[in-house]
C-alpha cells in the first residue's frame, strides 16, 4: 500500500507542534470531513483536507440512467436544499429539449427554490451561532426548517430528498393545504427571523467571535472560483438569478446583498439578508400566481412529461408516451448544454452532453461546495482552531455536494 499523503508525524524531539486529526467524524465538523492539522498551541500551522468519504460516483451512475431517473441523484448533492438541485436539473434538460415553461410553473418553482434557499441558510446561520456557543438561536430558527419540510411534504410527499417536480413541470398541482402552509410560513417566519437577528446581529460576543475572522478579499475569492454567499460576502455582486435569469427571476423585484470584508460575520449577514429577500420573492410569487390561470402545473409537452397514472391506465396515447419516456426513448437533440442555477452555496452547474442514447453521454455537476472548500486548508493557516471550526460552519460545506 503506497500512501502518497503527506505524513505529519513530527519526529523532531525538540518540536512542540501537535498533529490533530479533525474528523472524518467529528461533531464540530457537521459532516464527513477530515482535516489533518498541525498545531502550535491553539494556532494552526498547516492543514491538509481529505475529502471523498461519501463519494458515490454520481457522474458515473448518471451515464447509466434515463433523464428522469437522475433527479433523485441530484437530491443527494446538497441535501439541505434538494429542490434547487432538482429544479436545476429539470431546467437543464428543458434547455436541452427547448421546452418553454408556462409562467405559473416558473412561479411555483421560484416558491419551492426560495423555500429551499431559506432552509439551507437557516441551517448554515444557526450552526454558526451554535458553534460560537449560542444554542438558543439554533433551536429558535431551526423549527422553521421543519415547517419548510412540511410544505415539501404537501407538494411532493417527501421531506429531505425531495425528488420534487418533473422534467416539464410538477407532477401535481400545489394543493390548498400547501398554499395555506406557505402563507402561514410567510406570516410566522419574518417574526422569528427578526428575533434571531436581534439576538445575534449586535451581540458583542458573537461579533467578537466572527468579525474579522477568516476575511477573504474579492481577488482571492474569484481566484479560488468561489460563488454564492461566500463570494458576495467579499463584495462581488454575482448571483446567477440576476446574471442569467432562469425560471422567470427577471419578473421579480429583489436585491442581492453583498458584504464588504468577506469575514464570517459578513457571510452571516449576507445569508440573513438573502433569507429576507427569499421571503420577498415568495410573497411576490404568491401574488403573481393570482394572475395566472389556475391548474397549470406543467408544460404541454407530452413527449417529455410523464402523464398521470390514471391516464396511463385508461388512455392509449398516455400509455405510449409513458412507455417511451420510461424506456428512455425520448427524442432529445444530440447536443451539449451548460445550465447554472444559484444553489444554496453558489453556482450549481449542470454540464450535460447528450448523444441521442437513453442516458446522458456525460453529466458533470459543478458543485459549489467542492470548489469553495479547497480554500479551507490554505486559509486556516495561522488561524485559531476554534476560529477554523466556525469558519467551516460559515462556508456551509455539505458533504453530499462536496463529494458527489
Amino acid at each position: 500500500m503506497v500512501h502518497n499523503q503527506p505524513v505529519f508525524t513530527d519526529n523532531d524531539p525538540q518540536s512542540e507542534l501537535v498533529t490533530l486529526n479533525l474528523g472524518p467524524t467529528h461533531p464540530a465538523t457537521h459532516g464527513v470531513f477530515q482535516n489533518i492539522l498541525q498545531l502550535d498551541g491553539e494556532r494552526i500551522v498547516s492543514g491538509v483536507s481529505t475529502i471523498g468519504y461519501i463519494h458515490r460516483a454520481f457522474e458515473k451512475i448518471a451515464e447509466h440512467r434515463p433523464f428522469y431517473q437522475i433527479t433523485p441523484l441530484t437530491d443527494r448533492l446538497n441535501y439541505c436544499s434538494s429542490p434547487i438541485n432538482n429544479m436545476g436539473w429539470h431546467m437543464t434538460v428543458e434547455k436541452l429539449l427547448n421546452i418553454k415553461m408556462p409562467k405559473r410553473v416558473d412561479y411555483l418553482r421560484v416558491i419551492v427554490m426560495e423555500l429551499a434557499r431559506i432552509s439551507d441558510h437557516i441551517i448554515c446561520n444557526t450552526i454558526i451561532a451554535q458553534d460560537t456557543g449560542a444554542t438558543t438561536t439554533f433551536l429558535y430558527l431551526f423549527q422553521f426548517r421543519e415547517h419548510i419540510y412540511e410544505i415539501y411534504e404537501e407538494i411532493c410527499g417527501a421531506r429531505l430528498t425531495t425528488n420534487i417536480g418533473r422534467i416539464g413541470g410538477f407532477e401535481r398541482d400545489f394543493n390548498e393545504i400547501a398554499f395555506a402552509k406557505i402563507n402561514k410560513f410567510l406570516k410566522d417566519f419574518p417574526v422569528a427571523l427578526r428575533e434571531f437577528e436581534s439576538l445575534l446581529n449586535r451581540n458583542r460576543i458573537f461579533i467578537d467571535r466572527t468579525a474579522g475572522v477568516a476575511a477573504v478579499t474579492p481577488e482571492q475569492a474569484l481566484d479560488f472560483s468561489w460563488t454564492g454567499p461566500l463570494l458576495r460576502a467579499t463584495g462581488v455582486d454575482y448571483d446567477v438569478r440576476v446574471s442569467e435569469p432562469y425560471s422567470s427571476y427577471q419578473d421579480f423585484d429583489f436585491e442581492i446583498p453583498v458584504g464588504t470584508s468577506g469575514d464570517i460575520y459578513d457571510r452571516f449577514l449576507v445569508r440573513n439578508e438573502e433569507m429576507w429577500q427569499s421571503v420577498r420573492l415568495i410573497e411576490q410569487a404568491m401574488e403573481k400566481l393570482k394572475n395566472e390561470p389556475a391548474g397549470i402545473f406543467h408544460a404541454d409537452v407530452p413527449d417529455f412529461y410523464l402523464p398521470p397514472k390514471e391516464e396511463v391506465y385508461n388512455n392509449m396515447e398516455a400509455l405510449i408516451y409513458h412507455f417511451k419516456i420510461v424506456m428512455g426513448e425520448i427524442d432529445a437533440p444530440k447536443a451539449e448544454v451548460y445550465h447554472a442555477v444559484e444553489g444554496g452555496n453558489g453556482e450549481l452547474g449542470f454540464y450535460l452532453i447528450n448523444d441521442g442514447g437513453r442516458t446522458p453521454y456525460r453529466l458533470h455537476f459543478r458543485r459549489p461546495s467542492f470548489i469553495n472548500y479547497q480554500m479551507y486548508a490554505p486559509m486556516s493557516k495561522g488561524m485559531l482552531l476554534s476560529d477554523a471550526i466556525i469558519n467551516m460552519s460559515s462556508m456551509n460545506i455539505i458533504a453530499g455536494e462536496l463529494d458527489a
Binding site: 500500500m1 503506497v2 500512501h3 502518497n4 499523503q5 475529502i51 471523498g52 463519494h55 460516483a57 457522474e59 458515473k60 451512475i61 451515464e63 447509466h64 434547455k95 436541452l96 474569484l222 481566484d223 479560488f224 472560483s225 468561489w226 462581488v236 454575482y238 446574471s243 442569467e244 424506456m327 428512455g328 426513448e329 447536443a335 451539449e336 448544454v337 451548460y338 447554472a340 453556482e347 452547474g349 454540464y351 452532453i353 441521442g356 442514447g357 437513453r358 453521454y361 456525460r362 458533470h364 459543478r366 467542492f370 470548489i371 472548500y373 479547497q374 480554500m375 463529494d403 458527489a404
Partner: protein, 167 residues
C-alpha cells in the same frame, strides 16, 4: 451571451490565434472553441488577461472520454466573464495513451482541485500541477473510473444495453 458578443469574440480569437483555435460552435448560445494542449495556456492567459475578453473567472474544469476517437480524452474548461455576462467553453482533445496537458493552476488557484478531480476520474495528467493526487477515490483504486471502458455494474448484464432498446 448575445450573438453579437460571440461574433466579436470569434473575430478577436481568429485574429489573435488564427488556426490554433478551431471547431467554433455556439450550442445554446455558449461559445465553444477547440484548441490544442500546446496552445491552451496561451489561450487561457489571453482570455483571462486581455481587457477585450476579460474571462476572469474559472467556472469549471472537467473531462469527457470518447473511446472511439483517436484523441479520445477531451478536457473542458468553462470560463466566465461576470461583468459582460459571457461564458466560453474550451475543449482540448488529448491522446488517451499520453493524456498530458499543462496545468491551469498557475492562472487560477481554483483550478487545483478541479484538476485533481479530473485526474482522479479520467487520468488526465496536468503537467506542473503542485499536488496531483487523487481526491475523491482512494489512492489504491488503480483505475480512473470515469473512463468508458469501466462498467458501472456487472458487465455481463444485458438488460440495460442500448441495442435491446432499438438503438
Amino acid at each position: 451571451m448575445t450573438e453579437e458578443t460571440n461574433h466579436n469574440l470569434i473575430q478577436l480569437l481568429s485574429a489573435e490565434f488564427g488556426d490554433r483555435v478551431s471547431n467554433v460552435d455556439e450550442p445554446y448560445g455558449l461559445l465553444t472553441i477547440e484548441t490544442t494542449k500546446d496552445d491552451i495556456i496561451a489561450l487561457l492567459t489571453f482570455l483571462k488577461g486581455d481587457p477585450r475578453t476579460n474571462f476572469h473567472f474559472l467556472t469549471d474544469i472537467t473531462a469527457v472520454h470518447y473511446p472511439e476517437r483517436a484523441n479520445g480524452l477531451a478536457v473542458i474548461y468553462h470560463l466566465h466573464n461576470m461583468v459582460e455576462k459571457v461564458r466560453i467553453r474550451i475543449k482540448v482533445f488529448l491522446n488517451t495513451q499520453a493524456p498530458n496537458i499543462p496545468t491551469a493552476s498557475n492562472l487560477w488557484n481554483g483550478a487545483n482541485w478541479m484538476e485533481r478531480e479530473t485526474y482522479d476520474l479520467f487520468g488526465v495528467l496536468f503537467d506542473g500541477h503542485p499536488d496531483l493526487r487523487r481526491i475523491l477515490n482512494m489512492d489504491e483504486l488503480g483505475v480512473h473510473p470515469m473512463l468508458k471502458q469501466y462498467p458501472l455494474e456487472d458487465p455481463n448484464r444485458v438488460d440495460k444495453k442500448d441495442e435491446y432498446f432499438g438503438r
